[in-house]
């Protein structure tokens, strides 16, 4: 697949002024709410340290914890499956559904199933898949992937949703009222839930000691998806394991506060066993995680608890829109994880950052996100993924800047410097700079010249 041109996609998003402005405003509000929530917890920084340490401990002992989880889940009567990659995961899910004649599936939001492409896989085999999370369902109806990992439809305005629902459900296109729209959705989704033959959820945390799958949600749709049908399937990324409930408490305090500024979500549900007369399956999915765990610089991204705080604070994400990354995970966490799935396709993502470091400061599990973005740039050069124009400019810049005589000739007059300086400072011509900005006015003489005249005689 071709390289994702995030910069071009972002430029298009900015061009359409309505969405960029409302998206930035909404997402920045989440960052502000996160700050207010963190301020209410005096031990906030200690919690971050603890959360990071728990994740590092678990990742360092992942094999034993996964086996402990499997043993306890089996003891609870759960069937545990292991999937090496997304395809295996999808096949396992499909086989379960097919052998039980389940041709309708309701789902709660799961980034893992986005990552695995589960919905298109199942639908192409005749399973009718319906999302039940409001935002995720909106995206499904509009045939668009999520633009944010917590709020899939954050990129849409209420007017967009009113227009979409009117098209799909025949509701009033002029009634851009969230309460009205939520009712329209509820009316049309409830029958899908009550009639579905199988339900599927993702996982926020999998508890090794209890064998429970924990989901942390607001709408209650995960509980409905998991409990309404008799057949329940939970997909789990293997990095979601934590040792026990005591550890869960640390994450529960951090997750919602980091994500939206709420002290806690409406539902924190522990699914330990099937409902009476039903069955429960857990699919443990690797899909590149073991490989990433072996990457010296990049394994810490496995600590991620999918709160989206790094995205909310990211000034580039807020102005680019979530879809500009062309990837399952977007924003800072997407930049450092997507290249592990497909390096060529996501080779430009590490450059969609100013390296300002705000993401690292808000991360509740203390992933060194901006340092990893910087390190990925180095990897792209080593693996020859840097665009050739840019690489050529850097070679020239490297030569010019290491030869003072040549550099001095190039910059002795600001007029020639204007032509040369961009080549090393910013590799391209000033006409790109000047699209939206004035070009800096050249000074009469350089500092170097001034110093020679005024300090060396």
């Amino acid at each position: 697949m071709s390289v994702i041109d995030q910069a071009k996609n972002a430029a298009e998003f900015i061009e359409d002024k309505t969405h960029e402005v409302s998206f930035d405003k909404l997402i920045w509000m989440l960052r502000q709410k996160r700050d207010e929530a963190a301020l209410q917890v005096p031990e906030w920084e200690q919690l971050r340290d603890l959360a990071s340490a728990i994740k590092e401990h678990t990742l360092a002992n992942l094999g034993p914890y996964l086996e402990l989880f499997e043993a306890n889940a089996k003891r609870n009567g759960v069937t545990v499956h292991w999937a090496r990659d997304g395809h295996e995961h999808n096949q396992i899910v499909y086989d379960i559904l097919k052998s039980r004649d389940a041709d309708t599936l309701i789902k709660s939001k799961s980034m893992l199933t986005e990552e695995c492409g589960t919905t298109p896989f199942l639908q192409s085999r005749g399973v009718k898949v319906s999302e039940t999370d409001l935002g995720e369902r909106i995206q499904q109806l509009d045939d668009e992937p999520p633009s944010h990992i917590v709020g899939p439809a954050f990129q849409k305005t209420t007017e967009d949703v009113a227009a979409l629902f009117s098209k799909v459900y025949g509701s009033d296109p002029n009634k851009a009222d969230p309460v009205y729209l939520a009712h329209v959705m509820r009316e049309h989704t409830r029958p899908l839930i009550t009639e579905a033959k199988a339900g599927m959820t993702g996982t926020n945390f999998a508890i090794a000691e209890t064998g429970a799958i924990v989901t942390i949600t607001n709408e209650g749709n995960a509980d409905l998806s998991a409990n309404a049908p008799k057949l329940r399937i939970c997909s789990v990324g293997i990095e979601k394991i934590i040792p026990n409930n005591e550890h869960l408490a640390v994450f529960v305090r951090l997750l919602a506060r980091s994500a939206t500024g709420m002290p806690i979500t409406q539902y924190t549900s522990h699914f330990r066993a099937a409902r009476e007369g039903g069955e429960m399956h857990v699919v443990l999915v690797d899909n590149g995680r073991s490989d990433r765990l072996g990457m010296e610089k990049f394994w810490p991204s496995l600590k991620c608890i999918r709160c989206g705080a790094c995205m909310n604070t990211c000034p580039v994400y807020r102005r680019s829109g979530g879809l500009s990354y062309g990837s399952t995970y977007m924003g800072p966490i997407g930049i450092i994880t997507m290249p592990t799935f497909e390096i060529r396709r996501y080779s430009e993502l590490p450059f969609a950052s100013t390296l300002n470091g705000s993401c690292t400061n808000v991360c509740p599990v203390k992933i060194n996100i901006h340092e990893q973005i910087y390190a990925w740039r180095g990897v792209m050069d080593e693996k020859h993924q840097t665009p050739s124009l840019k690489k050529q400019a850097m070679i020239i810049a490297g030569k010019l800047l290491s030869h003072p005589e040549a550099y001095r000739i190039a910059t002795q007059s600001t007029e020639t410097a204007l032509k040369v300086l961009p080549r090393f400072a910013i590799y391209n011509h000033f006409n790109v700079w000047g699209r939206h900005r004035e070009v800096p006015a050249p000074a009469n003489e350089t500092f170097h010249e001034w110093y020679r005249k005024n300090r060396t005689h």
């Binding site: 995030q6 910069a7 430029a11 900015i14 061009e15 920045w28 700050d35 963190a38 301020l39 005096p42 906030w44 920084e45 604070t313 000034p315 580039v316 102005r319 680019s320 450059f351 969609a352 950052s353 100013t354 390296l355 470091g357 705000s358 400061n361 901006h370 910087y374 740039r377 180095g378 840097t386 840019k390 850097m394 070679i395 810049a397 490297g398 800047l401 003072p404 910059t411 600001t414 204007l418 300086l421 090393f424 400072a425 910013i426 391209n428 700079w433 699209r435 939206h436 900005r437 070009v439 800096p440 050249p442 000074a443 003489e445 350089t446 500092f447 170097h448 001034w450 110093y451 300090r455």
Partner: protein, 248 residues
Amino acid sequence: MRVGLMIPCYVDVFYPKAGIAALELLEKLDIDVEYPFDQTCCGQPMANSGCEADARATEELFIRNFAKFEYIVTPSGSCTHHIRNKFIATPPSPERDHVQSHVYDLVEFLHDILKVNEFPWAIFPHKVALHTSCSAIRGLFMQSMSERVHDQKFSKPKALLQGVQGIEFVDFERHDECCGFGGTFSVTEEAVAAKMGYDKVDFIDKSGAEYIVSSDLSCLMHLQGCAGRLQKNLKFLHLAQILNGDKE
């Protein structure tokens, strides 16, 4: 105390007055300053693009030029952050260690080493919006970070500017959000960079500021370009020019 003055490439060419102000200020404070003639750059443009190998010769040149100084001072948080924390294109050596551990942004040098808090020669009766770069904030910890809500609030550049007579600071929204320069980012992602700059300029313009002041001219070059395009009547100065008592 012998100080080597590093003047970043874009300061040399576009903002020599800021370089001159930094030099004169250090001289006023009786510091023995030398500007090594063979200096060019710290190599950040290449290294930030991931091209470490292409940064190596430039980094070596920097080390050759500056290893002999007791302190290396530059009016740029961005270059200081790069030299101190990201100088990895050359193999480790005592000389590399020395430049990494002895490089200071001008603000740090004045605030932490010389501990200056008065600039009696400087009068600046204007409303100032202080923009501190992300490198200076989150790389050099020159100012408290808005994300770290429990940390004590402080700002080294502001503390220095408070020693200038008549200066008035204005508050503005999202004060430590990135301005959008980001080195090569300013060109490779020019649309996002410019939008970030426009937003920053708008927030500052609403605050009633006359000047945007920073210890990083790379941010200012970008913001000045944005303000110019938006036809905002804002003026731009490097912090050294105010501390030195320059008349604009």
